[in-house]
């Protein structure tokens, strides 16, 4: 199996960077993570046993760095602000009139303008609070289990569910407004 550290930057730098920047959002931090990934991989190159392709090996290191970045960013004592749900629900927990999910119709069948959908999704994700983005990325982009995410971020399961709920409420609304085009 091909294993050419000299070619890594050439072959994988842009792909690793794109993978990272949509997850951590901050350009500078994404650059640092990619740089650290290559450096760690290069230092560990003698331990490469060839079970994974060199590409998958680099991605595995990168994914660890991304989770580690979130872990370092998390402040262990998170107090959640109250009231974000009130944007969408009344006191009885019913949808507010203006927040009721609308029909998305044919947009849900294979988006014609995939590029547009993804760029709006990315913008909507960037509008979330940092901690909401982190749980969203770990759960839905990195496919990590809730228990693990709580451990990494030092949050309680009940806070985790609140964060995931809010992230979905905000993202859904933002997509409906900017992608579907319903105010």
């Amino acid at each position: 199996m091909a294993f050419n550290p000299d070619q890594w930057v050439n072959k994988y730098a842009d792909a690793l960077y794109a993978y990272t920047v949509v997850r951590v959002t901050d350009v500078q931090q994404a650059e640092d993570i990619v740089q650290n990934t290559f450096f760690s991989a290069w230092k560990a190159r003698d331990t490469y046993k060839g079970q994974a392709s060199e590409k998958n090996w680099l991605y595995a290191i990168l994914k660890n760095k991304i989770v580690d970045h979130f872990r370092k960013q998390s402040t262990s004592r998170i107090t959640l602000a109250t009231g974000e749900e009130e944007l969408y629900f009344d006191e009885g927990g019913h949808w507010k009139e203006e927040s009721k999910p609308k029909e998305w119709g044919s947009n849900m069948e294979q988006p014609v303008e995939a590029k547009e959908f993804y760029s709006i999704l990315e913008q909507c994700k960037q509008k979330l609070k940092d901690i909401q983005q982190q749980v969203f990325v770990m759960k839905y982009m990195e496919d990590i289990e809730a228990d693990e995410i709580c451990k990494y971020l030092g949050i309680t399961p009940s806070n985790y569910w609140v964060l995931i709920h809010r992230a979905k409420l905000h993202l859904r609304k933002c997509l409906e407004k900017n992608w579907i085009g319903i105010e």
Partner: protein, 83 residues
Amino acid sequence: MKVFRLIWLSCEKATFLISKKEEGKLTFIESLQLKLHLRICDFCTRFSQQTKFFTGRSQHLHEHNNAALSPEKKQAIQSLMKD
């Protein structure tokens, strides 16, 4: 009336439980409550389908992003990878 109170869910709680369900963390009662709620509530059903739609696609975000590292940055990284 008692039974109704037992199985009734608000939309706020129902949408909350949808995420918990993905993780297989619903109690028996919760799962019954959610099932019944989704059968009668179009809005929460939409919420469920639409959130599934975008969460399922979010792992492909980077495939549609053309971000690239500058040649200078690449050179800087390359220069670190030397004995």
